[in-house]
């Protein structure tokens, strides 16, 4: 069997998790990691993995079947997504929900020109959660879908706290409000305001002599990030932060309640829940499964940009159609 030859663009947390995740998939082979830094300075997690400069990628189109793009959605992917879509089959986890339509169009054009496929906005949200929102809405059209995130660390909110004067370091957990989850599961079909679904817990390390009262106030009143939420601020030491809050757990729930029957008297609840010890590891594994789909679909002649809902689930599996019918259906 031909192994699927994978390249990784960007070697941060997500890139490292993709490097590890590929080892769990016998039908794949990691060709190398591509970075903007000096390749000689990079130590890979797995010994012997080749490191290339990102500029070398364009000369390796015949050596790599799918590029997994592991850069950030803020500044890396808007440039790298369209660029590499014109050279390789790609998979990415572009996650700026509001800009997905524009990103899709730009990537689509280049991928079609190159005859390659690009699966964008993969991962878990967008990604698996999108898939579940779609199935649930299609099956129970008279109903409501609710998405809860957490408990998990939000990078954006942690960064926002770090920008407050006097803050040395910080981690912010997004946590679903328990009463809200229960109301949704009871099929009460509630309408929530922003702050009613999630609360925010912050662990903050301050500079020596910083004014904690002011910092707490500035965090809790920060517009968009915290002012609409029930926010708790805990001041802790640098050691505590390192010891207890250096993991990257995350997760969440998509819950859809719908009604059927002559008088809509029957309630149905569909719940999809993730509890993840490592957000980058799990996201990486989703990207890898969609990389398999990208490879296969392009072999069948499919090109252009796709999102996860455009891909039939079977393309993600290593099992043959026969095996799937025997052991999974």
């Amino acid at each position: 069997m031909n192994e699927i030859r994978i390249g990784i663009i960007g070697y941060g947390n997500l890139g490292k998790s993709v490097e590890l995740g590929i080892q769990q998939n016998d039908d794949m082979k990691l060709i190398g990691v591509f970075t903007r830094r000096d390749p000689a300075t990079i130590k890979t997690v797995i010994e012997g993995v080749q490191v290339f400069h990102i500029d070398d990628a364009e000369n390796m189109t015949d050596r790599i079947d799918v590029m997994v793009l592991c850069g950030g959605s803020m500044s890396d992917l808007p440039e790298q997504g369209p660029l590499f879509a014109g050279l390789f089959n790609t998979v990415d986890g572009y996650d700026t929900h509001a800009k997905i339509p524009d990103y899709f169009n730009t990537v689509n054009k280049n991928a079609l020109d190159a005859g390659k496929i690009s699966i964008i906005a993969s991962g878990w949200d967008p990604g698996l959660f999108s898939i579940n929102r779609l199935y649930a809405e299609a099956i129970l059209p008279v109903g409501n879908t609710y998405t809860f995130w957490g408990k998990g660390i939000s990078q954006g909110h942690s960064d926002a706290i770090r920008r407050v004067k006097g803050v040395k370091d910080a981690k912010q957990y997004t946590i679903p409000v328990e009463n809200a989850v229960e109301a949704v599961k009871r099929c009460d079909m509630p309408d929530f305001t922003t702050g009613e679904m999630h609360k925010r817990e912050c662990f903050v390390v301050v500079e020596d002599g910083a004014d904690k009262k002011r910092i707490e106030h500035e965090i809790k009143t920060m517009p968009n990030y915290f002012s609409d939420y029930d926010t708790e601020v805990h001041f802790i030491t640098e050691e505590e932060l390192k010891k207890n809050h250096s993991g990257m757990p995350h997760g969440g729930l998509v819950i859809h309640c719908g009604k059927t029957g002559l008088k809509e008297s029957h309630n149905h609840m569909i719940e999809y829940k993730l509890e993840l010890d490592s957000n980058p590891d799990f996201t990486a594994n989703v990207l890898i499964a969609f990389a398999r789909a990208a490879y296969r679909l392009n072999k069948e002649g499919v090109s252009g940009a796709k999102t996860v809902v455009d891909i039939a689930p079977a393309y993600l599996s290593t099992k043959s159609a026969d095996e799937i019918r025997k052991s999974i259906i």
Copy 2:
């Protein structure tokens, strides 16, 4: 917009639920119900729905886009599935897991010959649970998948009790064992024996003067159905059975735990859970969503037998690709 014209073959609980479910979908129109009984004797749930004899269906291939097959898997579908696959696009909920590969092959041949598509084994298990098993296994290949059913009524087990001498009527609930669910969610990756995952609760109405001791013993020791399980038997009156146990609730969970990381030190839990007030209503709504997919795929020239994992999720949605990217992804 052209409405999708739907026919229903078989007018039992599932057929009636499909009749109701179609009313929730603006892009569909119910052309009629087809039955083996005398059409004049059928009173439909919704007034004005046309009732035809099943033998008339073959003359209506130009009036119906998708036939939803609502017969049973034991004796109806093995005959009706292949027959109607040769005439119409079809969707069914064939659920005899072990025979799905054979059923697929027979249906596939006729559907290909007719240039039609047949989506088989739809519903929730097989169906949505199959989809979730596949995604989870593909994303976390180092891991285990567990399927729990219930709390819900098992028709097969209820029927088995009714065959015991002296039993007038009975309902059997399949219930997941709580400790087993918890062990799975903790990612203990347990190996279970048959009876460790589910228990069985039976509500039994006996004939006057029947020997309850003997009946309870016969139920609890019945091979395949009950002898391997923790089984509770409650004797109740006919009135109680009617009042408290005439609904058709069901549900279940697919839980997959997987490991990632350099030393597989990260656990990830994916849980998909259904809580359904009406098993036939929910199953019907799944069939209806896949009927939409069947219609669209056949319009694109796709034919042959398919299972739910062969269908890209987007085909189930009434939303356009643009709308999906804007509002669901």
